[in-house]
Symmetry: D2
Subunit: 348 residues, 4 copies
């Protein structure tokens, strides 16, 4: 059972609830978030029902939820959540394109990629400054230098920034630059990191672990939600199977399955799923058609020299087709492409 407190709840209100639960033989785990406080109850649900918790001061909602994840479950949560990233919505009636370079390499490369993203209709800019790499000898990202480049590009293009954080110790630093924090596939069960981004007060994009079940993915989201942050976007990015023709196997069914189980938006990363440029557009079409709330795509001005994942990046000549896809396919499904800031002419 989970108690959701409103912003008006006082520390005394919370103490009163905890005492009541303890007296009933239960345990109460209090998690104070930026905008709300959550109290998770462990113990005898029948006895908790008799406490009339819903009538206590400060209590906004009391959820009795059978799913192992509670705050992110669609049970008792009629409407689907729309997450706002610096004013750009993800979820609801819109379909959001996020694009940018896999890794921030130089100011020029990042600016060029952002212009490409904007030309394709992107409303948000992706780009990695901290890169989790399987090999310690691979390029690990520019770190804070990369974050500053992203901030400069945002200032010029108006595109809010989505960027990855890989260490709980870096969350404050990354959050001071980013509009949305990304948790990558390898960190989906890095619980310290999940709790840290949950407490950071910024929206979070949570990629599915490459061998995580959908249930485990939602449990990972619950770790973030427990810290009071429900601005979470789930991102399917391909799972690991025996098939070798693609980098990963895009689990396209995960979109409708997750949307049935949670109120959170679900987007798709066709670049990391397929791992090949010529699969990105077909898989993007599949993602929008299946009902995804957005797609996140690698673009690079010069993929052949990219420091990370060049073979899967779209190039300039692909952008018109991507833009067309985003303009026409959502409409067929009764949705619209999320508008981002208009791109200024490149020469201006």
């Amino acid at each position: 059972m989970v108690i959701v407190l409103g912003p008006e709840a006082t520390p005394d209100n919370i103490v009163a609830i905890v005492d009541l639960v303890n007296d009933a033989g239960g345990e109460a785990y209090v998690t104070r978030g930026v905008s709300r406080t959550i109290v998770g109850l462990v113990g005898d649900v029948e006895r908790f029902e008799n406490l009339n918790l819903r009538t206590l001061p400060g209590v906004h909602d009391v959820l009795r939820i059978s799913a192992p994840y509670k705050l992110v479950s669609r049970q008792n949560h009629d409407s689907r959540t729309v997450v706002s990233v610096a004013g750009v919505p993800i979820g609801g009636d819109s379909v959001t394109l996020i694009a940018g370079p896999c890794a921030v390499e130089t100011p020029d490369q990042t600016m060029e990629a952002a212009r490409m993203a904007q030309a394709a209709g992107a409303a948000l800019l992706r780009g990695g400054a901290f890169k989790p790499r399987s090999s310690p000898y691979a390029f690990q990202g520019l770190g804070e230098v990369g974050l500053k480049i992203l901030a400069d590009v945002r200032a010029e293009t108006g595109l809010p920034i989505v960027t990855e954080v890989v260490d709980a110790a870096d969350v404050d630093l990354v959050a001071s630059y980013a509009d949305m924090l990304q948790v990558g596939t390898r960190n989906m069960q890095n619980f310290a990191l999940l709790q840290a981004v949950g407490a950071a007060g910024k929206p979070v994009m949570l990629k599915r672990g490459m061998s995580a079940t959908i249930e485990e993915w939602l449990m990972a989201a619950e770790y973030i939600a427990q810290r009071g942050n429900l601005d979470i976007v789930l991102c399917e990015r391909g799972i690991r199977t025996y098939e070798k023709a693609t980098r990963n196997t895009l689990d396209i069914s995960a979109v409708p399955v997750a949307q049935n189980l949670t109120h959170l938006p679900v987007i798709v990363d066709p670049s990391h799923s397929g791992g090949k440029r010529d699969l990105v557009l077909p898989l993007s079409r599949a993602a929008v058609a299946v009902g995804a709330d957005g797609v996140i795509i690698d673009v690079h001005p010069h993929p052949e020299t990219a420091l990370c994942d060049g073979p899967q990046a779209l190039v300039g000549s692909d952008l018109a087709e991507l833009a067309d896809l985003m303009d026409t396919l959502p409409a067929l499904l009764g949705r619209t492409r999320t508008k981002g800031p208009v791109a200024a002419p490149a020469g201006v």
Copy 2:
């Protein structure tokens, strides 16, 4: 290396080719199909090149193909194949809907399901009379009785029939009723069956093995092609992974990957992939959007009493949405829905 002989090739022509290959230290495997004869060469390719095989009488084509599958490879095969099933095309500019009951149970159930299929815009009727079942205690299909029911329904609706064959010994019987033979996922590497359907003179739908790589799938198609039958449609139906929320994991990327590797049409089975009714329409949209040449869907008038796979069958109230999808989504991609015979009013 593969030599394709034209219909005018005589037995003497073939003997001459074999002798020439043997003299060059190679081996020649001759496979006589209904409409063409194939000679596969094993040995030193350089020496074969010197034989000027292309100039010999009866020789239609000589293919030097590096892919492990040769006849079905897209190498040296510019145009994509359109397979004709009793006049209904699969492949090319059209998108074909195949629908019907998982298993033929009774004349009424089959007729009702066929009417449903037609209402949704199906051009072909699916329905199983021989069912491969994991358990020997499960319903194994009506056998020839079921084939007769299908033939009766075809006579009334005009819909050509796609039906499964599970034993090489039954191929002639099934082919005497069916317009297209289906090889199921469990039999994808039943090589005797593949060779038998290759020799049967009917188009074949080859489902991907539930844990087969795309390469193995194309190799299985090559077994059919080697018997002179290139009227093969590949069907992705979900692969086995650790995810438990769906019956199988639809490998949506397999469609564009296979289309890059082979000239054969590729369709999708969203019913067996997801295993749940509410996933069929989203996955069908994804399939058409990714570029599939068709979808094959379970429908049943009374899924709650179905003898096979009831939970994944579409019901009457789903048909309008399916019809709408088939009418609008292909058009967006520059394709059209394959028209089947028009449904006569149910009361006529």
Copy 3:
């Protein structure tokens, strides 16, 4: 529910049982095997209980079994089955080594491999005359010529023969030479083949499908058992996973899990699991240590020229270590190596 009839049951006895079941609203499936007849009942178990079936003439046993597989289930079957292959036991207190070439190529190669097998302590000779190959361009085996070679080698060495059959139409032919029929991984759900080997009156080795669950494997065994043949040995040969360092992933846990669920013997194929010569001995040790009832191993006098799976074959210098393993490790577990015919000196 399953009724097992004794050899003394008459046709009239069987008709009487079927009538009784029909009158109770159920269905009875009669399967006549070589040594016993099985009647499977589908319907209301409670009503069947009231028929006192156990008291009817000819009835040997009545099994009420909750597992989806019934005849092979360990429920109601206290002792573990020992399968006798031309007098050589598999199961029980002994651990049986089966060895030989992957494919029969020539009389000399087969004879040499058989001598190697015998030197290592093998009690049975394996060797393929019909080879299921992913590619139609790969060596498909010598067919009946290969069977004759095996028979000649048996005559000289005394080793009974285990060989694969890939087509239901070949079962009688193969059974006329073989002492044990092997069903390969790709055919685990080739139900026509399972039923044919079930009726052939020879012991069967059933390899696990490369992506079959243990339950599906036992269901496949049930198809064989239903034809009256319970002389089935299960063989774990590695499953398909994402790991690329080995050909397959040996699921070593499958041995104790299957032994808990079925009374049939379970052996391991370390050659096809690992796919590398240097893994065969470690995996053989693991197999015997985990409690397998035997191992089946590829040996070849000249692996570098083998027509099939050379890289995984043991060579002469490995045999002493294999023989030592088979002599010492079973003893530690309270078992003994199954003795085969003694090898005559090679020069005699």
Copy 4:
């Protein structure tokens, strides 16, 4: 290319090496560990060869290694590493049993489990104070209280402690109590944590990610090694497959495969692999037989009330069989069980 510096290398020596590499157009990554300093070179290997790096002051070794992991590779590393945990060896000629409770719950439970471990012949005590749990509502461990309990039990039994750390921020705290740090399966690619344990000056047990390839596992070990810590023990704990009969699929082949690729010891966790008590002993036998350098096993005095993974814990009546296994099976393979401190009588 990797340069290993001896403890006598001065800061000036290091600067000189870096300058030389830079002048040759390369990059040098310096990592100072507790006992040695590593310089990784990225760039043109041929030019580095000409620098005669091996002759420079402070240089201990120069490794040219083609494997993607270098420090942990068996290339250029003839002998297998023996890791010493507070004097207890893992690797070499010995086979080490590590046992204890999955989670530390109370002083009594931990003490009882330690006595059980010792009775079975364990040389090291395992026990979790920080537990990574899929659900935020599951027991997360006692934290530092649990570490203190472990230290008390060590004081009484003499058993060195292996315990998990889940957050880079906790590494110093955990290292102040533990004799060996464990990195769990979910954190195998938590690179910040890997680097932190690499710098902590304590031996590390690195569990394989539940869907990691063997190569990725060794790359993760390389992250630790790069910080100057080569006291790493690899632990295979089962991988994720479609099979549902076991919690995970023990990849027994991973032991010999990894031992061929790396000089580090490799042990097996049969408790988490199988997830069932009755599989622990068979899988332990398989692990020792395949050549593992040890096994790590869950034991619990009262599994039915365990807060974590009770169903897989061994109980008192299993211990004699485990002890017997550890005494006899290694001997058959020319190895011996690692002796730990002798258990004092429980009543003393």
